[in-house]
Symmetry: C2
């Protein structure tokens, strides 16, 4: 966006990945810092386990799902010590699936083995207003727009008194009505402080909060586990900060979560998301997507678990900036019953609107020892 505001809205910029092979084209999106991720793709090799991502990708064949999985495995080996790698791989993996789907004329969810897909109940994902009154208005409008589920998060939550947070939460509940699903997202505000988070449980319980999300930083297993055992019990959700499967597995096994939230744009794409969805089903906790950006990201997120009926709810961003909205020509909109459906077109089922995007294109040039390693390509 021409102007990026200092708010928790991840739709203000975007890093798109375009991969071309055999006359086909696939698109993916990283939920990640664009410049940093681009650098990880083109950087000079530091040593055998710190190679740029392009090393594992370019000039490889893509004829099957296992070819995509092999590229992911190669990235993990060749870029083991490159911390940013998983964020960059995420968009690459999605683009590879899109490419393969377009080549095979099949949606991604068929490629990864789902025989049947199920609708999901979208929850409107919103930022808290700066006042409880503003949150009430947002909630009321959300319900009027037809949503039966909402999540409020970030903004002032956790930064002042318990009472102020309670005002916010009850305002959200009042605006949505007693029968709606209401989720609260603390945005990691309590770091690892269990007592600060525990003080919010009473009011969250009273407001019939469906889940309490990310009270702590990702991976703080002991803090999550301890809070999950604290009365009155409120179901915990977390995991969006995971960037690989073992981190998600640790959250599933040791954090007392009832909902594991995975961002396909951070965790390594559809390959890794699908593995975690399967693992969640096995361990009897609910898998939910984390998506706060475009409908390309939303489609990619849905692919990994659209065939799993019990995992019925889906994060649905409703405050998208124009950039994120304009990335795709198609949009995933709720049907008459208020459910969303995974696209049935080939790949992710999304067409990138390169004409609309051209006004947002950022010129980047990275030069190392007088050699241009990266220069923004034509759209």
């Amino acid at each position: 966006m021409p102007e990026v505001l200092d708010i928790g809205d991840g739709s203000q910029d975007a890093l798109l990945v375009r991969i071309r092979a055999g006359g086909h084209e696939g698109w993916g999106e990283c939920e990640a810092s664009p410049l940093t991720s681009i650098s990880s793709y083109v950087c000079p090799m530091s040593h055998s386990a710190c190679k740029p991502l392009r090393y594992s990708l370019e000039r490889k064949n893509i004829d099957s799902v296992s070819d995509i999985q092999m590229i992911g495995a190669a990235v993990h080996e060749n870029s083991l010590d490159l911390l940013q790698a998983d964020h960059t791989l995420s968009g690459i993996d999605i683009a590879l699936y899109d490419l393969l789907g377009k080549k095979m004329n099949e949606p991604v969810h068929s490629l990864i083995g789902f025989k049947q897909v199920y609708p999901k109940l979208p929850y409107a994902s919103r930022l808290f207003g700066s006042t409880a009154a503003e949150t009430y208005e947002k909630a009321k409008k959300t319900r009027a727009d037809g949503y039966r589920a909402v999540k409020f998060g970030w903004g002032p939550f956790g930064k002042d008194s318990v009472e102020k947070d309670a005002d916010q939460v009850f305002a959200a509940r009042e605006g949505m009505g007693a029968d709606a699903y209401l989720m609260i997202d603390a945005g990691t505000v309590f770091k690892q402080d269990i007592s600060l988070a525990a003080k919010r449980l009473d009011m969250l319980k009273k407001a019939n909060t469906y889940w309490f999300e990310e009270p702590f930083i990702n991976g703080a297993l002991n803090a999550y586990k301890s809070l999950s055992l604290t009365e009155p019990g409120v179901p915990l959700a977390g995991g969006e900060g995971c960037n690989n499967i073992v981190q998600a597995e640790a959250m599933i096994d040791h954090a007392g979560l009832q909902f594991i939230q995975i961002d396909a744009g951070r965790i390594g794409g559809i390959t890794v998301s699908k593995k975690i969805a399967d693992l969640a089903a096995l361990r009897n906790i609910t898998y939910v997507n984390h998506t706060f950006t475009s409908h390309l990201a939303l489609s990619a997120s849905l692919q990994s678990y659209c065939g799993m009926e019990k995992h019925f709810i889906s994060e649905y961003p409703v405050e998208l900036k124009s950039l994120a909205r304009e990335i795709t020509k198609e949009h995933i909109v709720p049907d008459d019953q208020g459910y969303i459906h995974v696209p049935e077109g080939p790949g992710t089922g999304m067409t990138i609107d390169t004409v609309a995007l051209s006004k947002y294109l950022v010129d980047v040039e990275i030069i190392v020892n007088h050699k241009v390693l990266y220069s923004t390509p034509e759209l």
Copy 2:
């Protein structure tokens, strides 16, 4: 280095951080991809939790240890969704401690509260030879050079048969002698495959291996835990891939490790290393540094645990490329008894050899929308 080889030698490039304030200068080093880390420092803001690292650092006051801790906390909040952030923060944190130490005329270990320091037994950290015979020669030379402890790792280990690995391990043992500490580093080669790793335990036990390092990828808690309970028991070491305190805590609590290995150049610097050293002591497992680069990195690593007598062993790189060797004017060398000592000079006690380094300096330029965000400064 002018030429970077495709081997597991992390001393082939370096990312140095120089911070100037109040007429003083501090230096740190990131064990990380230089271009990617630089980009994370200067990248445009994506949203409130994805800001460049410079946002949390520049124009802040540095008068005390708590000022440094506050900068680390600010980075974690402002760059929460920037995956590379911890690798970049590591060199910054070290440079800030060096700066503060120089200002206060005290070594870092005094600043962080150690009243007394203890010598460490250096283990020579080496790559396996391509053949067992080559490894034998390396081991023999290591012993002749006065080292009583050695670690061999990476290279062919785990990539062929158990017998070939055993040949390598017994060659290392033979070359070092029966009374030496011998550690084996699998370099994550078995990913999460417990049975492949378990097949190596018998021969590792027979060779009296002091620890078996990183059989699996970092964070694979279940695989580590399971192997730690498999007979014949060989003590496990791991953790170098951790990039924050909660990941290290998970490895300490759930992976069955007897040694936790922390790289101050990846985990967030001296601030976080020290916290993990304290945690390890509390949980009764041994803290060890991970260092495979310069003596600046080695000094930074030693600062965090030099006051802890029971944690007696230290990784000591002996195959440094000239670049890593020439970063510092001083070097930490074993004394007559074969022990190393943390430097007593102010800060990290190291002087950066800017003249020697000038021949290695890499010209980098990062331009976004015609604005130069980064250009390699003068040394």
